[in-house]
């Protein structure tokens, strides 16, 4: 039997026991989410495919830049189910929408607006201006300038390794024909092509070319990657296709 005195006078033991006590609190809250049905909603498109897909290689690199620049420090990506947030930002975020995010970018602070549904809200050109010098479009903005995004060439030599790493934690990027076929079944052929690790470089270049936000078709900049990422945020679910009840019933 442990005596009160022996715990209080033994720092090592005290630390271990404190960690155990806090650990129980955390585990009780987190672990059940892994086996309770409906934690992550099932969201299908009209033709029965998964509406939420992993990021394309270019979007993935954009997401890395989002994290590198610390965008999450001031921007959340989590619209809560409150009326004021619904009116300002749109439909509340679904758990399914961040199921392929490692780590998720929910954030905890809104110095700037929530970005969970910023995709397609502004033009690519606006994003380039705004990221380079926010006050050129929003005079009252307190966001810092990120002028190097348009100057830096995107380094994407390791994009395949990045996709492999995510694959290890369960993101369905495909390596083998079997995995590719499974993705075709799950997401449709068009999306499955984009998730093929062996085609990552071509896919990345093709998407960057189609955006061409920097005005130079021969360059792929960090700006293009980040804008590609921002433009896809919150756009994968077409909420007009769903009854609200579809999402409430998961809770």
């Amino acid at each position: 039997m442990l005596k009160h005195e022996s715990i209080e006078t033994n720092t090592g033991l005290l630390i271990v026991l404190v960690l155990v006590a806090i650990g129980i609190g955390g585990l009780v809250e987190i672990v059940p989410l892994f086996y309770i049905d409906g934690t992550v909603e099932e969201v299908k498109t009209a033709d029965g495919k998964d509406a939420i897909r992993p990021y394309t290689p270019l979007e993935l690199r954009g997401r890395d830049i989002y994290i590198r620049e610390g965008c999450y420090v001031c921007h959340s990506q989590m619209i809560r189910p409150f009326r004021d947030e619904a009116l300002r930002y749109g439909h509340y975020s679904l758990a399914a929408e961040s199921q392929y995010d490692h780590p998720f970018q929910w954030g905890s602070m809104r110095r700037g607006p929530d970005l969970a549904r910023v995709g397609k809200k502004y033009s690519n050109g606006w994003h380039v201006k705004h990221l380079t010098r926010p006050r050129s479009v929003v005079p009252t903005s307190v966001m810092p300038n990120y002028p190097w995004l348009i100057k830096n060439d995107l380094s994407y030599g390791d994009v395949k390794e990045r996709m492999l790493a995510l694959k290890k934690v369960g993101v369905p990027y495909s390596l083998t024909q079997v995995e590719f076929d499974a993705n075709v079944k799950k997401f449709g052929k068009e999306v499955a092509e984009k998730l093929d690790i062996s085609k990552a470089d071509e896919n990345l270049m093709a998407q960057a070319k189609s955006m061409n936000t920097d005005g130079d078709a021969n360059r792929i900049t960090e700006m293009e990657a980040l804008v590609a990422y921002l433009q896809v945020l919150g756009t994968m679910v077409d909420f007009k296709q769903h009854d609200e009840h579809d999402f409430i019933k998961f809770r």
Binding site: P32, D37, R83, K120, K121, H245
Partner: protein
């Protein structure tokens, strides 16, 4: 083994440091103790009423605490308390939500003329419209709609590239626009662009060289094909979003912001040389019909329309 402090008579813990230093063993204050027991009782009640402990693949859903809402199909559903159902309920029954919906319904049924005349609807447009404008439009057109010269049109100045009637603005918001003026760098020589620049400045009564402007007019109506979009009178065409060049309103070249006549000419020449590429996004997938109607009424109220 209660030991007593000899001076105060209070109970001590029995620990002694440095020969004489002792610790009183006072009981916890009553109020504190009862508050502590109170929190335990509160937790038990809270667990029972609200969703709490996980059990297998499900969890305790709370007893006697349900929310009834309507699905989009109109069917009534009763479910255990959860924030998603609560939001749906508040969107359907909340005081502010219902009042807002009633106003939106009124707007939906009214014509733009009726909205403009009705003080109550105008007040709603000014508050609700301002909110949507702030969320969706102000990022480019700025708060109040003054725009940015060279990038985003001013919505307050009565000059409308794509038309200022309610139906025009509605169409612009719903479907967006791509504004495109071709670059003339390779097509016209530097001298010709200078001549055209002088002509364009003369149209808005800015300082210009009359002889060069005359040559520019010939280019405007001839080799430069400017008239094809801007018309021979240079008043522009709504269908193409081509600017009226005679109204002294400058949307791309910042002529009014220049300090000298030479700088004005340079600004105009740069537009002729490099052309213009602008895009207004389409909003019909993000905003519903009534929201767009409120927005149109709000935008019209920004100018003298």
């Amino acid at each position: 083994m209660a030991e007593k402090d000899p001076i105060t008579g209070a109970e001590t813990t029995g620990h002694v440091w440095d020969d004489t230093l002792q610790e009183f063993n006072n009981p916890l204050p009553r109020w504190w103790l009862w508050a502590f027991y109170g929190t335990i009782i509160f937790a038990l009640i809270y667990w029972t009423i609200y969703p709490s402990w996980p059990i297998g693949k499900s969890y305790l859903k709370g007893i006697g605490n349900t929310i009834t809402y309507k699905t989009d199909a109109g069917e009534e559903v009763t479910t255990h308390w959860n924030t998603r159902a609560l939001l749906q309920y508040e969107m359907q029954n909340g005081e502010a939500a219902v009042a807002q919906k009633a106003e939106l319904k009124k707007i939906d049924a009214a014509s733009y003329e009726e909205i403009a005349k009705d003080a109550d609807m105008q007040a709603f447009v000014q508050s609700f419209g301002k909110g949507i404008f702030g969320d969706y439009c102000a990022a480019c057109h700025r708060t109040g709609g003054v725009g940015v010269i060279g990038s985003y049109p001013n919505l307050t100045d009565d000059a409308w590239l794509w038309g200022g009637e309610a139906t025009d603005i509605e169409n612009t918001i719903k479907n967006g626009h791509i504004g495109n003026m071709p670059a003339h760098k390779g097509v016209l020589s530097e001298t010709e662009i200078t001549e055209l620049g002088n002509y364009v400045l003369s149209l808005s009564k800015e300082p210009s060289d009359a002889a060069l402007a005359r040559k520019g007019k010939a280019l405007f109506e001839g080799k430069g094909s400017c008239f094809a979009c801007h018309t021979k009178k240079a008043t522009g065409m709504k269908a193409l979003g081509s600017a009226n060049l005679t109204d002294q309103i400058w949307t791309i070249a910042d002529v009014k912001g220049q300090k000298s006549a030479e700088a004005e000419l340079t600004a105009v020449k740069s537009v002729i040389s490099n052309g213009v590429k602008r895009q207004m996004p389409a909003w019909k997938s993000r905003l519903d019909e009534t929201q767009i109607k409120v927005l149109v009424a709000y935008i019209r109220s920004l100018s003298s329309k």
